[in-house]
């Protein structure tokens, strides 16, 4: 077993930035945090940015002429610039701050609920998703369809955990108004071939929404190269605070589509009988935004940029390959999802003999190993593969081969415990 895989980051140095990673549990066992697909830990650089914001600059943003208000506004809008650059957005005005990915996806579904032609969704129009979506990319579209009379269709999955695009011409048709698809599955780890989907969707005039919640933290994300119309992601999975998410959308669409939440900041002028709306992105940011959280996201992006997203991706790729090999060697373990590191993210779900994931997770926890168990907000995937739940280990830039080894040893212990 070698721990000097090619492409690994200097995790000794990186881990020092993350206070929680030196925590011990259960009588001194070091924390082995393998629940990164659920949420990431935060480096002290991000916490410092939050503290600095609150201790020095805190004020409500926009419309203030005093120093704190100007500073807070500059910091908040500066975070927007950082996000725009991070995802290579053509314009900073295309970056809308939300509270999480779920709000970002609901925002799109709600805009379309009230959209006029040519975007109107109603009886006779289709909405297309996939069977591997997170609930946050399923339920908003179910609600949209229930409320407008549109029909929900979806791509199924192959036995090896990939999208089944064999019937793409039948699934995405002239009736399709919007296709919403996950970039990287949080349960299977699959990275989807978005090109083919975007091309087909745009051929029939459908909008494309990409759920990049598991991509933005892990790989370079270029919204121009993606060619989608909307891209959603969430701060807490990419070193940033909870309470902040992003919707990127094409400016023309953000201008043309109706607003979502109404209130302060999103208006141009208000009378009792009618209002007009501010231009994007403010049109979609009603009320006091998550100011400190956006600043924290900016700091997280600085941290990721300093390392380099290509390097982060290489690290995780090497670690995932190592982990897949190691897990395959565990007797009775069956990976649910692609069982090679090709076109694959760093979340690995598995079945472990007849043991229920709850029991696996509980006994791993006793050894300090934090994995997630359950349906991972992707219950249709569990139904598809005939499992009630899975155990999922997921890695990030601070994860190490040693932690993979600890997981493998932990699983052997689990087997012994229930054996």
């Amino acid at each position: 077993m070698t721990h000097t895989l090619p492409g690994l980051l200097d995790t000794d140095a990186i881990r020092k930035d993350f206070p929680v990673l030196s925590r011990t549990l259960h009588d001194g066992k070091p924390l082995v945090y393998l629940d990164n697909a659920a949420t990431s830990q935060k480096p002290k650089q991000v916490l410092d940015a939050l503290n600095r914001y609150y201790e020095m600059h805190n004020a409500n943003v926009h419309r203030g002429v005093h120093v704190l208000a100007e500073e807070a506004t500059a910091l908040y809008e500066g975070a927007r610039d950082k996000v725009a650059e991070f995802i290579n957005a053509p314009s900073r005005d295309e970056v809308v701050f939300t509270k999480n990915s779920s709000e970002a996806l609901n925002l799109v579904a709600n805009m379309l609920t009230w959209a006029d032609e040519p975007f109107r969704v109603g009886p006779g129009s289709d909405v297309v998703i996939t069977e591997m979506e997170h609930h946050s990319n399923i339920v908003p579209w179910q609600l949209l369809c229930q409320r407008t009379g549109a029909k929900l269709k979806w791509f199924g999955l192959t036995d090896d955990g990939r999208l089944d695009l064999s019937n793409i011409e039948q699934v995405i048709t002239e009736e399709t108004k919007v296709v919403s698809v996950v970039h990287t599955s949080n349960i299977l780890g699959t990275v989807n071939p978005l090109d083919a989907i975007v091309r087909r969707a745009h051929d029939v005039g459908a909008l494309v929404v990409v759920d990049a919640s598991q991509a933005a933290p892990h790989v370079p994300l270029d919204v121009q190269a993606l060619e989608a119309d909307f891209v959603a992601f969430t701060g807490h999975k990419m070193l940033a605070p909870t309470g902040i998410g992003v919707l990127w959308g094409r400016l023309g669409l953000l201008e043309e589509l109706p607003p979502f939440l109404g209130g302060g900041e999103m208006i141009e002028t208000v009378t009792m009988s009618a209002s007009t709306y501010a231009p994007a992105p403010h049109k979609f940011e009603a009320g006091t935004p998550p100011i400190a959280q956006a600043v924290g996201l900016g700091a997280a992006i600085d941290y990721l940029n300093a390392i380099g997203m290509d390097k982060v991706a290489a690290h995780e790729h090497a670690l995932t390959a190592y982990a897949i090999d190691a897990l395959k060697s565990v007797e009775g373990l069956e990976i649910i999802g692609p069982d090679t590191a090709l076109d694959r993210g760093a979340a690995i779900s598995f079945k472990f003999g007849d043991l229920h994931p709850h029991d696996v997770g509980q006994v791993l926890d006793e050894q300090g190993i934090a994995v997630r168990v359950g349906h991972h907000c992707a219950r249709p995937v569990c139904l598809r593969y005939g499992v009630p739940a899975t155990t999922r280990a997921s890695f990030y830039l601070y994860s190490t081969p040693g932690e993979v080894d600890a997981l493998v040893a932990g699983l052997e212990h689990v087997r012994g415990f229930f054996g």
């Binding site: 029991d359 509980q362 006994v363 006793e366 359950g374 009630p388 212990h413 229930f418």
Partner: protein
């Protein structure tokens, strides 16, 4: 049981629990039955389908059979097994008392002194009450039984 397991884990995975998990009692769906319910634990995907057969009505009603099928963790499976032992053969009134005692125990965060005379094997679940994420597992079968029984009793009115 593994040699290195900490105190806390042993307090959840009592030998009695693991025994019921490995060899569940009264498992499998049986006829005849008065009603069947399906309960789900949304936070983990555990599911149980459960049937009850009562005899008599009102205060005289007796639990003649409880049968179930489902998938879930050792805690939810063992708890359903223990539950069937405790309620089958009892009057509904008595069985509901046991259910309430068990509910009380599970909500106690490890603080309650379980009454072994009432709960018998179910006292083994005292340790589970210290694990908030697992309390719902332990309650799944019991809640399904209670729901099914209530439905039958209501239907009799």
């Amino acid at each position: 049981m593994g040699a290195n397991a900490g105190m806390k884990l042993d307090s959840m995975y009592q030998e009695i629990i693991l025994d019921h998990y490995r060899n569940p009692h009264h498992k499998g769906l049986r006829d005849p039955f008065d009603t069947e319910v399906h309960h789900v634990n949304p936070t983990c995907g555990d599911e149980v389908t459960l049937r009850v057969k009562l005899d008599g009505t009102g205060a005289d009603a007796k639990v003649v059979d409880v049968s179930y099928e489902g998938h879930g963790c050792s805690i939810s499976q063992a708890s359903a097994s223990v539950m069937t032992d405790l309620v089958i053969g009892r009057t509904v009134v008595d069985a509901l008392k046991v259910q309430e005692e068990f509910l009380h125990l599970m909500q106690s965060k490890g603080q309650a002194e379980p009454d072994e005379d009432v709960l018998e094997d179910a006292v083994a679940f005292a340790g589970v009450s210290k694990f908030p994420a697992r309390v719902k597992c332990a309650l799944l079968g019991w809640m399904a039984w209670r729901d099914a029984t209530t439905q039958v009793m209501e239907g009799q009115k």
